[in-house]
């Protein structure tokens, strides 16, 4: 970038300014052409200034909305946002700018607590929204504000196995058979993984086994504890690790759809959990009345027949079947579902099972 001309003896360098500002220096033997250093510095300083200016965040638009959601809802909210934007414009409003952020439910809740400017949260567990409410960002009774415990859909946990079910997995009890490898994410970092854990717990309770012993032996069959539900799906499908993936029902159907029905089978266990992923408005992050209107409309839109049809199409169990494709509704098998109240509610489950030193920690440390 820089070159030096040694000017020796009494030969004087002569400089010649070109039209574009470049300077040529010559000693007679060698000559150098280039921008003067000062000019280069000016350009660099300007570039830096532009770079720093870019760091300052853009002011939030009134018609902008950030939906902070959990891991496997990418496809769902991509569709919902499109439908909502079209509906919102048809209602005579300016085009909204809806952004979505996805990640492990717990990590997402933490980001909102630490200041991520989400107007709407749609997480995997009520417990995670409770944590945000505990910081005063939304009222403690948020779950009563929208129908069905603020859950626009429910879902459950099923098994995804390889084509033909070579290990003959039918129910939770088969997961602890010799040589079976189970893929499930880490309940500490993944909301879905907590439901997996609770599903196993519920099955053991109903089949006369010691739940803690059963769950413990189940986790000895887990070769990889991924951070989130989508990571676990990748491990099972792309890396071909494990014989069975404990997955969100929607994730299992999605994997089958995306990767081929001839590669994976879905096994529905005799009992599973009724997961109610809730949605809520983050009151503290509403910056104007316009934004509040938009955010409220967005959440109530989730309960409209149009949105519910998308929800069914994306393999979630919605409430309103009036506009849904009957085939989308019919594919859900009926099975015995246990909800979180059965385990004593999220705050109890969280404290007993997943807190520091809780039952899940004991499973691993005791080995």
């Amino acid at each position: 970038m820089f070159a030096t001309l040694h000017v020796a003896g009494r030969i004087l360098p002569w400089a010649d300014d070109a039209a574009d500002g470049r300077v040529t220096i010559s000693t007679g033997l060698r000559s150098l052409t280039g921008w003067p250093v000062l000019r280069g510095l000016q350009t660099a300083a300007l570039a830096l200034a532009v770079g720093f200016a870019g760091l300052t965040a853009q002011p939030v638009q009134a018609q902008a909305l950030l939906n902070v959601s959990y891991d496997p809802t990418r496809e769902l909210y991509a569709d919902i946002d499109k439908a909502f934007a079209a509906w919102w414009v048809a209602e005579g409003n300016p085009a909204p700018e809806i952004q979505a952020s996805h990640g492990g439910s717990g990590a997402q809740a933490r980001a909102v607590i630490e200041g991520l400017d989400a107007q709407v949260v749609t997480l995997a567990l009520a417990a995670d929204i409770d944590k945000i409410a505990a910081q005063g960002k939304l009222p403690a009774d948020w779950q009563g504000k929208l129908p069905h415990n603020s859950s626009p859909y429910t879902s459950t946990i099923v098994f995804l196995v390889r084509e033909g079910n070579p290990k003959g997995i039918k129910d939770w009890g088969d997961l602890v058979a010799d040589g079976v490898e189970v893929i499930t994410p880490n309940p500490k970092t993944s909301g879905g993984a907590r439901w997996n854990y609770l599903g196993a717990w519920a099955w053991a309770e109903q089949n006369g086994q010691d739940p803690q012993e059963f769950v413990k032996s189940l986790y000895t069959h887990v070769p990889v504890l991924d951070k989130g539900a989508r990571d676990a799906t990748t491990t099972f499908t792309q890396r071909e690790i494990g014989d069975v993936l404990l997955a969100w029902e929607n994730e299992a159907y999605l994997a089958q759809k995306e990767l081929g029905e001839d590669q994976y089978d879905i096994v529905v266990p005799s009992v599973s959990v009724l997961a109610e992923p809730p949605v809520a408005l983050v009151e503290a992050n509403l910056h104007s009345d316009d934004q509040r209107k938009l955010a409220e409309a967005y959440l109530s839109f989730l309960y409209t027949p149009e949105a519910q049809a998308i929800i069914f199409k994306q393999f979630y169990r919605g409430w309103d079947t009036s506009k849904a494709d009957p085939a989308d509704v019919a594919r859900f098998p009926q099975l015995k579902l246990v909800d979180i109240a059965h385990f004593g509610g999220w705050s109890k489950v969280q404290a007993d099972h997943f807190a520091d030193g809780g039952i899940f920690d004991q499973i691993y440390v005791a080995q």
Binding site: V224, R239, E240, F354, V365
Partner: protein, 278 residues
Amino acid sequence: MMTGLVHRSPIPGFGLSAGVTLTMLSVVVLIPIGALFLEGFSAGIPTLIDTINTGRVRAALYLSFRLSVIAACVNLVFGLVLAWVLTRYDFPGRRILDAAVDLPFALPTAVAGIALTALYAPNGAFGALFKDLGIKIAYTQWGILIALIFVGLPFVTRTVQPVVEEIEREVEEASATLGASRAYTIRRVILPLLMPAALTGFGLSLARAVGEYGSVIFIAGNLPMKTEIAPLLIVIKLEEYNDPGAAAIGLAMLAISFGMLFLINLVQVFSRRRIGHV
């Protein structure tokens, strides 16, 4: 009073440059670390010790530091050879290879982690080879080690390269004319000259490996007591909203790292004394 005690440098500009340095260091390094101390000690020292002194935290710390030391040792040897080859020989593609050494710096660690996992998983290109030999790489401690070697590779090479360039050929020639064999020249002439820089690179590579998170979580398997690294445990504590617990592990890592880097510096001082200033 003070001016009488402090020996003022004759070079002007000390006040300004020291001010800028201190401000930068405070904003970027010292204050965040201060906050870590504050949070870690907030629950009291007994709680701090209890948090660290559980089987799972001890296992994670041991795993992280053990693998980091191994990775740094591999990088020390490999990095020295690489630096030597890249500076001393000229061959087609040398400059491209030279640039490629920096890739682990530039690549987002998550990308590196996913790429390594795809390669070393049992169905990946390398993983399949090892699978035939009955060795599992991805999702075991081997996988973590490979990721740590990857992220630490440039440090030794980049610190040693300028020193290799500086060594005059005459030094080697003098050694040869005095009757030293090639191996003896390397052992008694070249390596002592490279050692201080190599140790610096070793320390940097070690520090980087200890703190590495992004690439390791994809390839590690993350099983508690087996393949769970200390930085992941910190993230888990944070997601349990256990900030003091997370800070406690952070402090433990900081203390151990400090001890190790201190040792490396001692070795450096010792080797400088032995062979003179380089």
